[in-house]
Symmetry: C2
Subunit: 912 residues, 2 copies
């Protein structure tokens, strides 16, 4: 306690100086650190200070009083620093110093946490502000905003109202309706005075407490409210979704208020140093005249473009004439050329300084530019690759920095489908909105997040349609194929969140009228209902009626070059899980270097094959089974030939039959009757056999090498098919590397017996063909016991392939099919931080993998190590496998690029 209390808790900045800098994100949050850095760079930022993230934890653990005691002196010193620079006085009625109180975590959590502006106003100070600024309406509007924000954020007024409704908004709407106003801008000074009086009454009425007139009390309460907002449910959910630890906490930034709403020479805006959707090197952004920053983000008024070029493009897309554009929608470049020039200089400086695309917030107060924030700009996958590759080629970042900046999951967006051109040409364009997040999507219309979840759970693809979105809609957006909003710009909540999710989004399609009650949307007279099909092109902003077929995206040169750079760095090789030649070819296009898991059972379901399979199962003795297997042999051989050919030159790991036999027999009477007739058996006999095969826990039953051990003839047939296929290809001059994989090994002797069998069949085929080739025999490690005795198994195996799906099931004792009943609760209660079937559980399952890896390699230096479970394509898991010295990961074809990039990043992590 003593040592802690001597730590610095507040860092000041402003006027070209700062106590911290941009590298201090952990302590000061992203926003705070960048404000310090900007100030050091001589960029105009409103003076202020940052309270450290450590105080957020102190608040959580020790409460309000202890926290305030720790920060009080330094905060008051920070206030004096602001007063000094701004020439104002906090708490003075005549010359009031107003401040904003904002959150700022280590990473951006848009819209998740709270902000209070205009702290420092009260009934006297509002008069002083009016007198000093000469703008009475501005002063009263600022006071109105303070009351509204403070009442909401600090005093939690909605907690006290019925159904959580907002009494301020209701009152505001009432007065506007009574007076026939179209917008807030129409409110007069008298209206605002009446409103502030009403707001104060509402606060007293609902919360039982009066609005505090003491600016210091306002300040302390607002600081605590920001800390508190780190722990709100929606923030917790967001962090879970984005894997942000609760312990990071948020910093609090207190800054002098600057006003974009002081009249025609004031404005607020947001800007990106490059195009966040395409990655093109074009400065762009939006601004609103006479508005505060939140007005731009909220998407209530249609924002204007910052650059002339951007403005013209926007007008063209919106069908607005150049004359009308100049008149009503001027760019900042035209409207305030000097300020624009300053802003352009600042954005250049910031991008050069950070060597990355920046997302800026600025305010122009009476013609003077203030930067409120700079941060690394969120971007689409396409933009991520393009910006990264451009900067790499320009020599602004090196290869490792490039790779470390790439988010593997975002590559998914580049791999997403686009509309089929043919299908698109026949589609009906309904309207156009903003191309907020690229990709193409079709789905059925839903208007509410709960419906989105329910419909998606029922297997229906959905498009979520909202006037605008809020944090509550997150869960619906997460499951929707695409998102369409009627309001809001490129930086609206919907747009930012959708890009973060890599999900198609069209925002601000103003022509759409949505009726939540009727569950309809109307576009130019056409009414669409909940459940109707809708298609969105998030790259163009187009909205189509009906369902449109999609085709795969094409990978451009930037992407390919990036992948090649990744491969140079990675030590893990990336293979794919593929059961068909088509899948194998697709994965190869995505850069897979072999097959890590070829499941042979899928081959037994098509057409006549299933009949032969059933014939084998129904046979009561070995000769009967062999007769059926003999007929399956040429079919399997041909399958393997095609797969080997598709993967020529690369290893192909083929897993011997794995699932329990009951998966192959019919379970409904009609199909059983059919089978009975086909096989010349009675329905009774079929039913008995099916019943005999029934298992209480099939997952832990008669499957994997337990089948190959009890029915060695299955292993024999499959081995023969593999070896014969490989020899056939080798004869044709095609390079083949078969790897035969024994599933579900749990004892040494299973491995020994299966290996002996495989080798003896291979030798027999070699003798028959007078030819031979090299092949490997290895095993899945997917049973906890196999991991525990890996040293003994390794003596008899050329490779281990970790089946992390089953290993996770057995190590946790979770059935993947049944865990849905408790996993959501477990994630919600924080019992699990991730779904262990998505992200490898390093704490438990990882121990077994590490143990098996170390023991296996100790006894067999040549042992190849790979992974073929779902985790093979998951970046955090890949980092773990890389650390264990694995040779390869194997994942589904579409995950291959993600895995290649993750493998490179993992290699860099180890080397650093």
């Amino acid at each position: 306690m003593e040592t802690l209390s001597k730590q610095k808790t507040v860092y000041k900045f402003g006027n070209g100086t700062a106590e911290g800098n941009g590298s201090m994100k952990e302590l000061l949050g992203g926003k705070g650190a960048n404000l310090e850095e900007m100030s050091l760079l001589g960029i105009p930022v409103p003076p202020g200070f940052t309270i450290t993230t450590e105080m957020c934890t102190v608040y959580q653990n020790q409460g309000r009083e202890m926290t305030l005691a720790r920060i009080r002196d330094e905060v008051l010193d920070g206030i004096r620093h602001i007063e000094h620079i701004m020439g104002t006085c906090f708490g003075s009625p005549a010359n009031p110093c107003l401040v904003s109180v904002r959150s700022g975590a280590r990473v951006s959590m848009p819209g998740m946490m709270d902000t209070v502006l205009n702290i420092g106003l009260n009934d006297e100070a509002v008069l002083g502000l009016a007198a000093k600024s000469g703008k009475e309406r501005f002063a009263w509007d600022s006071y109105r905003r303070l009351l509204q924000m403070y009442g909401d954020v600090v005093m939690n007024i909605k907690q006290f109202t019925e159904n959580g409704h907002d009494p301020f908004e209701k009152e505001l709407a009432a007065i506007k309706q009574a007076k026939g106003y179209a917008s807030d801008q129409d409110l007069t000074v008298a209206d605002l005075q009446e409103l502030t009086a009403t707001y104060k009454e509402l606060i007293k009425k609902y919360t039982g407490e009066p609005f505090p007139t003491d600016p210091h009390e306002q300040l302390w309460n607002a600081i605590i409210a920001v800390f508190e907002s780190w722990y709100t449910e929606r923030a917790v959910v967001y962090r879970q979704l984005h894997d942000i630890p609760d312990t990071w906490g948020t910093a609090v930034n207190v800054q002098a208020m600057v006003f974009g709403n002081m009249g025609k020479h004031s404005a607020s805006g947001v800007a990106f140093t490059r195009d966040a959707a395409t990655g093109e090197d074009i400065f762009n952004g939006e601004y609103l005249i006479d508005a505060q920053g939140e007005d731009v983000v909220a998407g209530i008024r249609t924002p204007l473009q910052i650059t002339l070029e951007g403005s013209r493009k926007w007008a063209q897309a919106a069908g607005i004439s150049e004359a009308e554009r100049q008149e009503n929608y001027p760019s900042l470049e035209e409207y305030m050329p000097e300020v624009y020039a300053h802003l352009d200089e600042v954005q250049q400086k910031l991008e050069d300084h950070f060597a990355d695309m920046q997302d800026l917030e600025f305010t122009i107060e009476e013609g003077r530019l203030w930067l409120l924030q700079t941060r690394t700009g969120k971007r689409t996958g396409k933009a991520m690759v393009k910006i990264g590759m451009d900067m790499y080629r320009e020599g602004r970042i090196d290869r490792n920095t490039l790779l470390q900046r790439m988010e593997p999951e975002k590559l998914n967006e580049l791999l997403h489908p686009v509309f089929d051109r043919q299908a698109l040409s026949q589609a009906t364009l309904l309207t156009k909105g903003l191309p907020a997040s690229p990709g193409a999507a079709s789905g059925q219309i839903v208007f509410f997040a709960e419906d989105a979840q329910a419909w998606q759970a029922a297997g229906k693809p959905v498009i979520m349609v909202r006037i605008e979105t809020a944090a509550d809609d997150l869960k619906g957006m997460a499951v929707a194929n695409g998102i369409l909003t009627a309001r809001g710009g490129m930086t609206s909540h919907a747009a930012v969140v959708a890009r973060g999710m890599g999900k198609c989004c069209v925002a601000g399609a103003g022509a759409i009228k949505i009726d939540y009650e009727q569950r309809t949307m109307e576009v130019n007279g056409q009414v669409l209902h909940e459940g109707d099909w809708l298609s969105l092109n998030g790259s163009t902003g187009e909205v189509f009626a009906g369902q449109i077929a999609t085709v795969e995206a094409e990978l451009d040169d930037d992407f390919n070059e990036l992948m090649e750079l990744a491969d140079k760095v990675a030590s893990l090789s990336v293979r794919t899980n593929a059961d068909t030649p088509e899948t194998a070819r697709l994965a190869r296009q995505f850069g897979a270097r072999g097959i890590g898991l070829c499941r042979t059972e899928h081959m037994f379901f098509e057409g006549d094959r299933i009949k032969l399979m059933r014939q084998m199962i129904m046979a009561d003795d070995e000769p009967g089974r062999r007769a059926a297997l003999d007929k399956l042999l040429p079919i399997q051989r041909s399958d393997f030939e095609q797969i080997f050919e598709a993967m020529a030159g690369y290893p192909v790991t083929i897993r011997l039959l794995d699932p329990p036999l009951h998966e192959f027999v019919p379970h409904e009477e009609e199909a059983q009757q059919e089978l009975a007739e086909e096989m010349g058996l009675s329905l009774e006999q079929i039913k008995n056999k099916v019943e005999e095969l029934r298992e209480v826990n099939p997952m832990l039953g008669h499957r994997g090498c337990r089948l190959g051990t009890t029915y060695p003839e299955i292993t024999e047939m499959q081995t023969r098919a593999i070896i014969e296929a490989a020899l056939n290809l080798q004869k044709r001059g095609i390079e083949v590397h078969p790897e035969i994989m024994v599933p579900l090994t749990g004892t040494v002797k299973e491995m020994v017996l299966q290996k002996e069998l495989i080798n003896s069949v291979a030798e027999a085929v070699f003798a028959e063909r007078q030819d031979k080739l090299r092949y490997l025999v290895g095993t899945m490690i997917e049973i906890p016991r196999a991991a525990l005795i890996a040293n003994k198994i390794a003596e008899h195996a050329d490779f281990f392939s970790f089946g992390t799906n089953d290993l996770t099931q057995m190590t946790f004792g979770y059935s993947r099919d049944d865990a849905g009943r408790f996993l959501p609760v477990y994630l919600e209660k924080g019992i699990l931080t991730d779904n262990p079937f998505e992200v490898l559980d390093q704490e438990g399952v990882g121990q077994l993998i590490e143990l098996a890896t170390v023991r296996g390699r100790n006894f067999n230096k040549q042992l190849k190590l790979g992974i073929c479970g779902e985790h093979g394509g998951e970046p955090r898991s890949i980092e773990f496998f890389n650390r264990q010295g694995f040779d390869y990961v194997s994942c589904s074809p579409y995950r291959v690029p993600v895995a290649r990039l993750a493998a490179a990043r993992a290699a860099l992590t180890v080397n650093n």
Copy 2:
């Protein structure tokens, strides 16, 4: 090789001298070592020598020629030793030296391996033997026997015949039938001469090789045949059954032949120094005049008693008059008083020397006594205890020797009823299943639990016959005399429950086909109906048709004294698994010191309880569940009160609800309809709920603390019931030690949340009652992941109780209910040496236990460690738990004495 070949391979004995001694069992086998020892003791044994067990391994690894090269010189020296003592000459036609060649492993494997007698005879020597002995018939009969044994054992004649029939026996039977002879004794010299000629022809005909006339060739071949017999299939199976390593090998004993069949002054016999059935200190045994040893064992002629007392008792039982007895069935004591006196002296000397009950084989040749073998006598469980305790009290063995000699499993015989011997001899064996729960039972067949209850209520003893059992069947099993299932292994539901109830059970009798509709069971073509009598031997797995009288076991003072001695030595405490006060009381009688596992779910099946349980399950919200739980609370509390009272003074570990909820709902439409009416719901609603609860792999599903975590109200109710019950008893002055156990923990946070909940409920109850008590909160370790993170869990647990059933299921990936499909094959192929559900798998599962134990104790020095899986009553597993420093094992009541003894033996093993 060089060093090995200098090792001594042959040890001679005879005439009061010996090269080896009784301690050399590993090298010389049990028989050989004891022959050496007897010779040293001056007891008359036919002179001979033993070829070491090492040569058996040499034979296996290096083959016949290398083995013979190694032993040749020493064997020939041994033959000279025999010739010297007996004054005969091996290979001489005039004065032939005949020898026996017998196996002799470290432990006795009765009837498993081969013997060849009369080696040294051929067409010339038989004449010499006849001349020398003056007994022509004896000589030819000896030759006939040699041919028959040699042809069978050495030349494997049966391998060459159709269906493996014995051509010698066929020929012997033919000649007896042709001549109208009743017994072999009637064969004349001419008959025997004819037979020997025929036998030689048969050998040539079937094997293609002539019978070797060279005695040396006979000898070498016989020695190799004995080594070979160690590796026969039946011997391998026997060793697997008795856990004898293949590597031990057998020794070969070559001895001078002595003949009990040289006429009226010759005889052969076997004797026990004490009664092998009752343990009484009575010398007893049987002999046959003019017979070889195998005639006695084979039971072809009715043997006579050795002692007069034994003879009189025998005659009385058989209804034979004293006059007739004296005439036709004289005792050896009467028939050859001097020889008897010598034998009595020898048996005394041997028992004194070995300080244990001996099993002797002897031959009297022309009035001279020869001891062929002495070994520790096999005995019943009752005799084991009595003999051990008698010798201990007599000071002939110390406490540790006593305990080490006791075989824990044999105590079972003392604890359960057995069939009356007389009645059993007339019973018809139907089939055999697994000996799932020991004891003997007779009753009338019923197929349904309701019938079992009704019939039992009507005074009819029943045997419940099911394909397999489920929770629904509990009430039927509770009233049945015994349980028979067609499916399921040693740890199936039926087996586990039956053992818990101490009820006889035969499980997995696969030959039985049950037709529930017809209410019949079919075994090998025989159909039995409901109501037919059936008898089960749960100790052997035998199923008999009809009713067989049983006798109850009684626990005598010897038993109790033995148990007390065991407890003094043991470091492990033995608790019991008990769910009812009756079981708890029973277990306490057997010496249980607490309950290690009280399953609360069984309490929910009786009467109205199941209705309340179903009401809770059907409730769609927490208030609904709480309403039902409130009604269950007083019932549970009362259960706990009774159990605490039955175990007063000892700890009682209560496991919170564990099974998935679908085990409590009805799965058949009729019962569902009934439930619907009871609950005022539609059948549809019930069906939907049942379907909703259905799981693909219930073993890995929503159960254990996953229930307690998703429905905390269940944990709350159970905790309240436990604490209230304990306080109620404490108020009455009864000592209670409740231990609350969280099942199926897999993550630290599950444990933390459940513990917080338990503590908060306990605190609430303490406050309400203004009273408190000490209780422990711990967890099962039954999920592999729990073992891996045991260090972290241990921080929050007072105790770990290893649930080795589930831990085995998950570590192996075996479902106990389904593993029956491959486990038999796995045991047969030697993939597993034991069923891991019976004997703890130390190689795999044991690693997890050791790891959890070490990690747990490292982080929590006070951590109590116990085991409550099936392995808690298995001696080899108990040795493992003792080695790991466990505090207690817990097992079903009837296993408690077994576990107490095993715990003592385990402690001795560690100390030695």
